[in-house]
Symmetry: C2
């Protein structure tokens, strides 16, 4: 993966000053990396290196998911589903409807939707239980959507009672196999824990490559040289532009299969930074679709947006290349600030790299903006109100 600070429209002196202001935090993260473990909330940067975790997930997969596994039902919402969905959709899910015979398929049951539940239970009714695995994910164990959906699913399909895996940070109750989420790793930072690894591994996705991509980026993100630490420099470009009235940050993904990756990133930015009246509003565009929708607004409307283009270096052919080049040219010509993240291709390794990049970038953004990157106090209030 390559980061290109193509047209960031930031003052270099200001950028370097901002980098200097981050140095103590970089040092702190280096210590956390060296120390390992999950004693502090930034400990999520150690997850990709956790061999015990990987072995636990692999063992449980071997126990629960034989060659006959065809359908994984992930019951979870927000940070419990978005990471796995981002990776799965980029690799398979976006095309699932065109590949009815390709398995294992990963289905996501997120918000409460009784039509979906009925169709899902109809679909699964005649399946051999060994073909199905239900992964119920809730860090708190109390998410109302997840518990409601899980109850409905299992009351209609009691034959699946031995085909359940729970992923949670709560104490295990009873005999259901349970995977642990470290208490201090927040949902939006949990994709490389069992939350993401287990369902992706069951779907035959190469999670080792995913973790390798993440490991490489951590090294980059801890570098004290601003030329190499592109993670911090991307945060700085976003931050300086936000101070300059560009408080909408758009991730412009070239390729509809990356749309779920964009949604995962939206949660990361919104929940991490939206506090104490501060925050930037994350939006997603898809190329080339949205050149026929929001592009007019970007070019002709208020200049209140900062853009990150995400594309593959191995592009699909002449027309797609021409489109991307034309778009970049028009953005630069119209004075719209943008940086680029170029993936070698849509692979596990590059997806892991992208996600680690964004998770560590948002730490730097929080530091620059002066908010705590952890917790989501308003969501907790809401959960209580409906709980």
């Amino acid at each position: 993966m390559r980061f290109l600070s193509t047209n960031p429209l930031v003052n270099n002196t200001q950028a370097l000053a901002a980098f200097d202001s981050l140095r103590p935090y970089i040092k702190k993260l280096q210590e956390i990396a060296q120390h390992g473990g999950y004693g502090v909330e930034e400990g999520f940067i150690n997850v990709p290196f956790d061999e015990t975790l990987l072995n636990t997930v692999v063992s449980l997969k071997e126990k629960m998911a034989g060659d006959g596994l065809k359908y994984i039902i992930l019951v979870g919402i927000g940070g419990s589903s978005l990471g796995a969905k981002a990776v799965y959709d980029a690799l398979f899910g976006h095309y699932d409807v065109l590949q009815p015979a390709r398995t294992p398929k990963l289905f996501f049951v997120e918000s409460i939707d009784f039509k979906l539940l009925r169709l899902l239970t109809d679909f699964l009714a005649d399946k051999d239980p060994r073909e199905v695995l239900v992964n119920i994910i809730s860090k708190s164990g109390e998410t109302i959507e997840t518990s409601t959906n899980a109850q409905h699913l299992l009351s209609r399909l009691p034959k699946l009672k031995d085909r359940i895996v729970i992923t949670t940070s709560q104490k295990s109750t009873g005999s259901i196999p349970t995977l642990e989420i470290p208490q201090k790793v927040g949902g939006r930072f949990s994709v490389f824990t069992a939350v993401g690894l287990f369902p992706l591994l069951c779907a035959n996705i190469n999670v080792v490559s995913l973790l390798e991509g993440a490991m490489e980026i951590r090294r980059l993100a801890l570098d004290e040289d601003p030329k190499r630490n592109t993670v911090a420099m991307s945060a700085i470009a976003t931050f300086l532009n936000s101070r300059n009235g560009k408080d909408i940050t758009n991730t412009f993904l070239f390729g509809p299969r990356l749309e779920s990756l964009g949604k995962w990133n939206i949660q990361l930015i919104a929940e991490t930074l939206g506090k104490e009246g501060k925050g930037i509003t994350p939006t997603v565009s898809i190329g080339s679709n949205d050149l026929h929708t929001t592009y007019q607004l970007y070019m002709g409307g208020p200049k209140d947006k900062f853009f990150t283009f995400v594309n593959t270096q191995k592009q699909d052919g002449g027309v797609a290349d021409a489109v991307y080049k034309a778009v970049k040219g028009s953005f630069a010509e119209n004075g719209l600030p943008f940086v680029e993240l170029l993936l070698d291709d849509i692979t596990e390794k590059e997806l892991g790299a992208f996600m680690q990049f964004k998770m560590m970038e948002v730490l730097y953004l929080a530091k620059l903006m002066g908010v705590s990157p952890f917790g989501q106090p308003e969501v907790e209030k809401y959960k209580k109100a409906v709980g």
Copy 2:
């Protein structure tokens, strides 16, 4: 469908003054409605009443789409695909992967994606041509993504050459059945023309109900009484809030199956209003998913957003109702402005009503903001650059 101005946070005197400023335009629209036809760009408000159009579409469907039709491939992008996709996904598409046997299925080929094209042609390769219909939609006849995709598809599956319908405003060439888009009806206002009607009708969707919903709303939108003209009042609430620093307008749809409807609305707002440095930024949230993503930002972050909640009155059960009530309460408590659009249920009629509401609302918004609602000059520039 019911519009509720629940917590608009606008001054009533200002709202009524804004309504008065719209009166001449309401009168103009009344005349256009009375006169009929497509002589002016606002003529799109007459489309749902066009019986000739409906008959043409029905005849061509009867000719091209027998009982054996299973797959409709819509090749189009932006205004050529978003309307049909909004309706199809709300009724069927969101669940297609769980219903492999349900047909006809409607597939959308939008941006250039050679992986998608390969899977699609593999999927169709062994199908009887009578099971397949390809609808190529491009108003200008020159959209680069659409022509590239259509060429690839047909060069790989020449057996489909007699299974094509073209929808365009250009002169028909050759013997391929062609449906006409009126020259002055813009892509983003074209859902009730053949652009939307033909593929939806082929997918056995009740387009007559869709049009009935639209017709009812037109009457409402032309009313000179601000108490009844909720379309104008919704525009006024959005506009007055945007003048008050809330220049992001969020459509918060309760139900993932409505996500494509949100995207259709994003194009409508972005292309209609994003001009001459003016414009508001449209975003979409999905309930209850995004209570676990962006809700933290809405509550804890900058107060720069106006919200339209879209929900069904016939809700799915206890928990969903409790969630919706809690959300509304928390928005009101935190001083976030919102209005509500309540659909009786997710039906053709209610979807038609919603779309007409939004298309006419955006006319009023453009008038209030002082921009021309028609044309998309920046998109045209881009199309030339890559053409």
